[in-house]
Amino acid sequence: MPGAAQLIAHLQEICGSEHVHTHPHALAPYQSDGLAQYRQRPLAAVLPGTAAQVRAVVRACFEAGVPWVARGSGTGLSGGALPLADGILIVLARMRRILEVDLRNSRVVVEPGVTNLAVSRAVAPSHFYPPDPSSQLVCSIGGNIAENSGGAHCFKYGFTTNYVTALDVVLSDGSEARFERDAPGYDLLGAFVGSEGTLGVATAIELRVVPAPESVRTLVAFFEDTASAGQAVSAIVAAGIVPGAIEMMDRLSIRAAEQATGAGYRLDAGAALLVELDGPREECRQRFEQVATLCARAGALDLRVALDAAERELIWKTRKAAFGAMGRVAPAYFVQDGVIPRTRLAEVLERIDQLAAAYGLQVANVFHAGDGNLHPLVCYDSSRPGEAERAERLAGEIIKSCVEAGGSITGEHGVGVDKKAYMPTMFAEPDLDAFHRLRCAFDPVGLANPGKVMPTPRLCGEVPGPFREHPLEREGVAVRF
């Protein structure tokens, strides 16, 4: 690729050659994010250490006309950090400093490579940072910004976008901008969070933190099937209770997770419902008793209440181990992230069971019962001919069922590469065009994480003015929509 060597030399000048990797062995760890089925080595991986270096790197790419992908910890589950063969991978992992902790004003400022859990730890024990993806020990705040990450506590507490109060951003032309909540003008902050690295890269992030709850009570209830567990959830919501977290696991995922953790989850149960109440002690106690009653009324076989922090930890450990533990019951699986209106849960789960039976495959289910975010785990054995392809088709059917039920193709993992083909099931052409207008306003040349989110490649027209053919159009490589 013409100019590649020059660009790489320039990047080495900016970051130091020890932080620019081009050798295939050095690039191997960066070729995938959390979705190992997508693999691609970039032209080079560069690890800037400061915001100034990030700016200079992006500027260098802009001047060379070379696209780039930003990567945090590489734990994403939609291939959002999948590199481009002819692009640079900008890895933010070295930028791990917590820049400011201001508990008086309930705020912290961090670099993008800081892990999610590190934020909560920095403000503990009086405060915590609520968006808590299961990968929080490893996943980075920068990545959380890109995906608008949620986590188990988001039904009550909200998502990353509700907690970001300011961003310093490098835009695709290498310029810098600052977005603040409540600054007059368009909500650029709100547009940027969840934009999957396609509008720029954040170099400093201000987050809101909140007081840690006074009281936390956790139980896990076992039910004969997901339908009755679902009824318990409905009753809880109808009672006006907003639990801190409410998670469900089905028989298959219970089995896998229990094998991994030995926490004592019942293997004869069709469903496990983990409910956590948190808040002021008076409210918490009363709500908790209500929840226990409602679970019993919905037919719970058994109710285990965490009596101390260690037991609470174990109950959660099992839930969080579910994805990783699936390897014990299936050689491989696709992780999905569909959302449905909670009231459609029983119906969609039944549909998934029917589909799984029709495809002759097993689907385990772990999900955030409060907000209807399902994580179907479509299991397969790639050593059996055609099974991987069947599993992929089944995964697609499941996504479509979610959209048909009034839901979404992704609740927290993002579209990335993994789900862009499904964007048209949710959005019509005018909607996709509107998304594209926003993206072009930020990145008219298309250098920031191209090939992600949008289902088909599009160019950004000049707005307004006389028509000018883009070089790629002239070459017959791209078409203007």
Binding site: R107, G185, G240, F427, R437
Partner: protein
């Protein structure tokens, strides 16, 4: 509200489709279009003379969906907020948004990003919106988001249009997240003449794990108050805890109040001008004394969200320069409610945004409204 020079042609579409067509036609004819819901905030933004086509969305007033078990609803833009709340209350729910009402519509509340005391716990309109349907000036009708609480598919155009003052297009309907109506609400209130004491109470209450619904301050004539609301089955007991904290930290006349609606109505009333010029200010919670000092310098009054740092300062127009001069550097003052002769330039109303951010906003505006038909000149930077 003073009338400006220029003629207004009012159109009243009967449906979202018709509204989209009318907008496109007006834009194609080179017209300047603005949108009217309850007409309560047309006097916000830069006062621009000239002829307008006014799209009155009063007939787009249906509740499209209310999904009780899912805690979501979809409202057309012309639904009055009060009617929406009444409907939701019948099912024991609410949209946790309590700006000053006066006949405001859902569309107007979201287009201006107006909020009230519940902002403390539940956020601003942008934190409650799940999805949006909009009409653009080129005839496009587009949707973003959805109707589920958790959704990261696509770009968050719902947030982009929220607070955009109709400059990107017409909001046709919004999908929102609901909350259960609390069983009981009790407030606690205490007063002090020392801003330092007030801010320490606010900070202590912000840091306490009390899950307050609202945490407000008020200041007038050398005296101020901290107000806090709790909600839930044990509201009274928790309000007593709040009151105890207030007393511990030296507030006077501390009391728990069960009939607290008038208290909060007064806070909301303080978000509209009485003296002639109302400025909205953003600041850190710890900066309250500096904001109070600015109010004093202008002999004005203040209400606002003490914990969040969103304040409203009301003063006489003649005192406005003094007020603005006295505010801390980072305060982003916005002249929200004032006579047109004070709202002549974008800088006077909106301040000067960060240049690169403003450039991005111009690009966004150009792409969503290439004809420049949607509320031109009214917004930040004269967009």
């Amino acid at each position: 509200m003073a009338l400006l020079a220029g003629a207004t042609k009012v159109l009243t579409p009967a449906s979202a489709q018709e509204a989209a067509v009318m907008l496109a036609e007006a834009a194609a004819a080179g017209g300047r279009v603005r949108f009217r819901g309850g007409g309560t905030k047309l006097g916000w933004g830069v006062a621009v003379d000239g002829d307008w086509v006014e799209l009155d969305v009063g007939r787009l007033n249906r509740t499209l969906e209310h999904n009780v078990g899912d805690l979501t609803a979809i409202f057309e833009a012309g639904v009055p907020l009060a009617r929406a709340q009444a409907q939701l209350a019948a099912a024991g729910q609410r949209l946790a948004l309590d700006p000053p009402d006066g006949g405001a519509t859902i569309g107007g509340v979201f287009a201006t990003g107006d909020a009230g005391p519940l902002r403390h716990r539940y956020g601003a309109p942008r934190d409650l919106i799940l999805g949006i349907t909009v009409a653009l000036s080129d005839g496009t009708i587009a949707r973003a988001g959805g109707k589920v609480i958790k959704n990261v598919a696509g770009y968050d155009l719902a947030k982009l249009f929220t607070g955009a003052f109709g400059t990107l297009g017409l909001i046709l309907s919004v999908s929102v997240r609901l909350h259960p109506l609390p069983e009981a609400q009790v407030s606690a209130r205490g007063v002090a003449a020392d801003p330092g004491r007030l801010v320490e109470v606010v900070l202590a209450l912000s840091a306490a794990p009390l899950e307050l619904e609202a945490l407000d301050v008020a200041w007038s004539g050398g005296r101020g108050a901290v107000l806090a609301q709790v909600a839930g089955a044990k509201a009274r007991r928790r309000a007593d805890r709040v009151a105890a904290l207030m007393r511990e930290r030296g507030l006077q006349e501390v009391e728990a109040i069960t009939e607290d609606e008038p208290l909060w109505a007064a806070q909301r009333a303080g978000q509209r001008t009485h003296a002639g010029a109302l400025v909205r200010v953003g600041a850190r919670a710890s900066e309250l004394p500096a904001i109070i000092a600015a109010a004093d310098a202008a002999r004005g009054t203040l209400v606002g969200r003490g914990g969040v740092g969103a304040f409203y300062l009301d003063c006489a127009p003649a005192a406005l320069p003094e007020l603005l001069r006295s505010l801390p550097a980072r305060a982003h003052p916005v002249l929200l409610d004032a006579p047109p002769e004070l709202r002549v330039s974008p800088e006077q109303v909106w301040g000067a945004p960060e240049p690169r951010a403003l450039e991005l906003m111009r690009q966004i505006k150009r792409r969503f409204d290439p004809a420049g038909a949607c509320n031109p000149g009214v917004f930040v930077g004269g967009i």
